[in-house]
């Protein structure tokens, strides 16, 4: 180890009385006092949510109102704290979206477990689960803090879709690619 001796200037008398420093400090705090507040008055004022913010995971619908999740359960699989529970189900053959075939029957995310890691959003092949801007969750019971499918769609709303993969598929079907 090598040592470096730092030269310290001897204190001047004014410094030794400590008074100028005190006055300096007082002027600093006074300036701070008359400045506007640094804090936000939550909940009336809310911080701007930056792009790509990872809030509460939600389920979204595509612009046509189709539920995007097909209950592939990849999010359930990837979720590190096992917060997601899905019961897959089949879309009945006479539904509008029958060509999608599969949709969740039950979809629960336990917000007491969720760590907001965003892996579910990352893994979702249908871009159906999004961590959006809701950041405060509260409830009186444990059950209340489990978001069920209905609540997840309510939180999620509709997001723009770039692919319309299933609509394209339906279009191909209707264009008669099956006929030959």
């Amino acid at each position: 180890m090598s040592f470096k001796t730092v030269e310290r200037k001897p204190l001047t008398l004014a410094e030794r009385t400590y008074v100028p420093q005190i006055l300096n400090g007082l002027s600093h705090t006074f300036k701070k006092m008359v400045k506007p507040n640094e804090t936000l008055e939550y909940p009336e004022a809310r911080p701007p949510i930056p792009e790509g913010y990872r809030g509460v995971p939600t389920l979204v619908k595509d612009p046509n109102g189709r539920e995007k999740c097909v209950s592939c359960q990849l999010c359930e699989f990837v979720c590190p704290p096992k917060a997601i529970r899905i019961k897959p189900g089949e879309i009945s053959a006479d539904a509008d979206t029958a060509h999608v075939e599969k949709a969740p029957q039950e979809f629960d995310i336990d917000m007491l477990r969720c760590i907001y890691c965003g892996l579910c959003q990352e893994v979702c092949p249908e871009e159906a689960i999004w961590l959006q801007n809701v950041f405060s969750v509260s409830g009186y019971t444990r059950e209340e803090l489990v978001n069920d499918k209905e609540r997840l769609y309510e939180l999620g709303g509709t997001l723009p879709d770039e692919h319309f993969k299933w609509d394209k598929k339906k279009a191909a079907e209707e264009a008669g690619n099956g006929a030959h």
Partner: protein, 380 residues
């Protein structure tokens, strides 16, 4: 009305005065605690307490929201909380002294307030200014010091009666500190009275007289003592901080770094009495400082109150005087808070070193210097 008052038996007068003292000090102490929270918040860039809203008052248009923003209802809630909290008494304390200590803490501050004039009115009969004071005694400052220094007993008592280590150490810290700074404090006011009093039997220690002497004509006559004797004012102020246990001298409590202090074992209403006593102490300290060095109720240096109010009705003049005085006092209370949220706490050895090795010699030198100077001036 004054006649009516004067016609009352003496003990009723005393009771009324006592109630005035309590009725003045306790709300001020409460307001101080709120002010402390607000000032700390503003200095730290926060709005401070502003959420609570009482039904009734809180819903009056305009006024309600203002009170809410000021956190007044928090103050009420806090006060109510202290009263309604369960009274927990640790099993190991000496109950009698344990309960006694907070009362002992409150008594000196309530007593000293009676000898502190908080304004003046123009007495048309005698054509002179009369102090607004509860007890116009000649010993004035001596009474303040004598009774005020009793407050240290409360701290020792609390520390000892709690019968556990932290409060005890806190009590010892407190007593050592208070005794140390009392010396400098007392010494620092001697020059003031040397200046105020001409040699002879007419001498007085009355605080009214000190203000009077700052209200005369002439360069020195109208000059506040803070300009005339800045060193005295400085020593007095530093000692005042130490005596009132305010930052940077709040060794007796020290909050988290030295675990509470003398009131570690206290809670609820008992604790809040300590709290009130501290603020009362601070208020009186500020008042005394204003009287001694800042010209009391005189609005500005070289501008005495008397000619201003001479033509006004008595009540208005009195009110004006009290307003000037209280304004200055409240500024000082603010200064206490301002300093608290600016300076860090001293280490205890520094407190002691500062008290005994720096401040006391300085105060002694100061007394000698002014004594000589006054002697020289008076001779000439």
């Amino acid at each position: 009305m004054i006649d009516l008052y004067l016609s009352l038996p003496i003990w009723v007068q005393a009771a009324i005065k006592g109630l005035i003292a309590i009725g003045f000090l306790i709300p001020v102490a409460g307001a101080c605690s709120l002010a402390e929270r607000k000032v700390s918040a503003w200095i730290q860039g926060r709005p401070g307490p502003n959420r609570a809203r009482a039904w009734g008052l809180g819903y009056i248009p305009i006024l309600g929201p203002i009170l809410q923003r000021l956190g007044v209802f928090h103050l009420m809630a806090d006060g109510a909380k202290f009263v309604f909290k369960e009274d927990v008494v640790p099993g190991h304390v000496n109950k009698f002294y344990y309960y006694l200590a907070p009362l002992v803490a409150l008594v000196p501050s309530l007593c000293t307030v009676v000898v502190v004039p908080f304004g003046a009115y123009f007495d048309a009969a005698s054509e002179t200014l009369k102090p607004l004071i509860l007890a116009d005694v000649d010993v004035g400052i001596l009474a303040v010091f004598a009774i005020g220094s009793l407050s240290v007993y409360a701290l020792i008592l609390a520390g000892w009666a709690s019968n556990s280590k932290y409060p005890f150490l806190g009590g010892v810290r407190a007593s050592a500190q208070l005794i140390s700074y009392e010396l400098s404090m007392t010494l620092s006011v001697i020059p003031v009275f040397l200046w105020v009093n001409a040699p002879g039997p007419e001498a007085t220690l009355s605080l009214f007289a000190v203000v009077e002497s700052q209200s005369q004509a002439g360069l020195f006559g109208g000059m506040w003592f803070v300009f005339l004797m800045p060193m005295c004012a400085f020593i007095f102020l530093v000692s005042l901080f130490a005596e009132t246990n305010r930052q940077p001298f709040d060794m007796p409590e020290s909050e988290a770094d030295l675990v509470g202090g003398f009131h570690t074992e206290y809670g609820e209403f008992k604790w809040s009495i300590f709290f009130v006593a501290e603020y009362a102490h601070m208020t009186i300290g500020s008042a005394v400082f204003v009287l001694l060095f800042l010209g009391g109720w005189n609005p500005l240096p070289w501008v005495p109150l008397e000619p201003l109010i001479a033509g006004l009705p008595v009540w208005l003049g009195g009110l004006l005087g009290a307003a000037f005085f209280l304004g200055k006092t409240f500024f000082f209370i603010f200064l206490f808070m301002w300093v608290r949220w600016t300076l860090p706490r001293f280490r205890y050895d520094q407190v002691m070193r500062l008290g005994w090795q720096k401040l006391l010699p300085l105060a002694i030198a100061n007394v000698i210097f002014y004594a000589l100077a006054i002697a020289v001036i008076e001779r000439s």
